[in-house]
């Protein structure tokens, strides 16, 4: 059992930093190297879709549920896809009970934005009857073990959960929604595979996929979501600042990482 119960001490801080300066990381990785991915799907019988994703020791479980409701008046033929994240206290003594923390809100929002702006979930396909009935899709992310870089794990698990979903298909008949007996599956729900990659910065050193100790000492992070050929979302957090050249370099790196991850993880295999 690793002891992460206290905020990391100054000694550890200096140790991490001096290693990074030599291009080394405390867990032996290269600067741009990710920890191992492990993806499972459809373990939650009660969910319409689900995924368990590990990135090193970080573990996240995401489930998809749906409801049918009236559309927003200004978007009468579009469904809704919402994201929620909860940092369970069992995942780390750093997580407290209570209403969603800022960190949980940020996790949900960054994953949401990366997916939303990629037109990944096509909300127009989630309309059953204009002005009357649309799907509301809930993508809920639970952090089971916290070992750094929740955003990248949350992104992959959300995509996988959506891809693995089977949502009963409804049609509009006699002023109510009835089931056609068929299902909407991942290929209807998911249109693009936006991949988010997160970088830490300590001093003027930038690195991929921060582990927990790195995350605790870093000055800031930046998360970049990309589709095949476009940037779709960026979020900088923490008090680090980035030069324009660094940002340009990182967006390029994220495009490469996206391509590689899309190929390595082959998420479409989880479609039912």
């Amino acid at each position: 059992m690793m002891n992460i119960k206290r905020v990391i001490s100054t000694i550890e801080k200096n140790y991490i930093l001096s290693n990074l300066k030599k291009g080394e990381r405390i867990d032996g990785r290269d600067i741009w190297q990710y920890r191992d991915w492990n993806v499972k799907s459809n373990m939650i019988a009660s969910a319409e879709g689900s995924a368990e994703v590990s990135l090193g020791k970080t573990k996240v479980i995401t489930g998809v549920k749906y409801d049918v409701g009236a559309p927003f008046p200004d978007l009468p033929n579009e469904g809704v896809c919402t994201f929620m994240a909860e940092l369970l206290p069992l995942a780390s003594p750093l997580f407290e009970r209570g209403p969603p923390s800022e960190q949980a809100i940020e996790l949900a929002r960054v994953v949401d934005r990366g997916i939303r702006h990629a037109d990944c979930v096509q909300t127009k396909k989630l309309c059953i009857k204009e002005k009357k009935a649309v799907y509301i899709i809930f993508v809920d992310i639970y952090v089971i073990n916290y070992s750094g870089n929740l955003i990248d794990a949350g992104g992959i698990s959300s995509l996988t959960a959506l891809i693995s979903s089977k949502i009963p298909e409804g049609k509009w008949e006699n002023d109510e929604v009835v089931w056609t007996g068929k299902y909407l599956t991942g290929d209807t729900l998911v249109n693009e595979l936006p991949i988010v990659s997160t970088y830490g910065k300590i001093g003027d050193i930038i690195f991929s996929d921060p582990s927990l100790p790195e995350e605790l000492v870093c000055d800031g992070k930046i998360s970049i979501s990309v589709t095949e050929d476009k940037i779709t979302s960026i979020q900088k957090s923490g008090f680090a600042t980035f030069t324009i050249e660094e940002v340009e370099m990182l967006t390029k790196k994220s495009m490469e990482f996206g391509k590689k991850t899309r190929k390595d993880l082959n998420l479409w295999q989880y479609k039912l």
Binding site: S46, P89, S92
Partner: protein
Amino acid sequence: MPLIIKDEYPEKLFREDGKRLDGRDKNELRPIKMEVGVLENADGSAYLEWGNNKIYCAVYGPREVHPHHLAKPDRGILRVFYRMATFSVFERKRPAPGRREKEVSMVITDCLKPVLFLELYPGTSFEVFINVLDADGGTRCACVTVAALALADAGIPMRSLVTAVAIGKIDGELITDLSGIEDKAGEADLPCAMTWFNEELSLLQFDGKMDLDEFNESLGLAKEAISKIYEIQLNALKKKYIEIQEEYSGGEK
């Protein structure tokens, strides 16, 4: 807000061959899997699958009490936080903890307290976080069972383990280890837990309808089933012990 598919219950809960809908005999348990030490950041942890129940439990303690004014000068306190994932049930649960979650947390607290030596830890707290990721029948019994394991995994002194099971009544007959559908469509639900140090019941709830004879018979069935589940608990603890031993004895397998 219209719902598309009704969560309908079958008319009969026994099949023609006398088996239950999931193929079990009347007093047969669902498959159960338990593992301890599954979460690296907690002082103790356990994971359990029991039918479709999928539950993680982590224990922290003894540690400082937050908020401070809850601390007791003469003993430690036990706090259990039982939570269901939004997607763990048929209709999405709201994210905020509900009344039922608070109530079940209290029931589990009351059930676990008798095996702890809280009087030895004045001013501290033991916190048990239980997260149900997928829910099936007998969730609270599964939670008690996994929480006892996580407490043991944390190395916290205990009088004994605690083990729980739910007895039920479907189509007029008593059965062991209710599934989700049997719980919802059945006639009675009797979750109970046994503290092994005194072989007494530390959780006892009942909802439904039984006459005195049925009720007394149910208690007997519960005791029988609880003995079997206790074995699985012990094996999960042994397995970790063996793994640690193997680790220490080096390369020689």
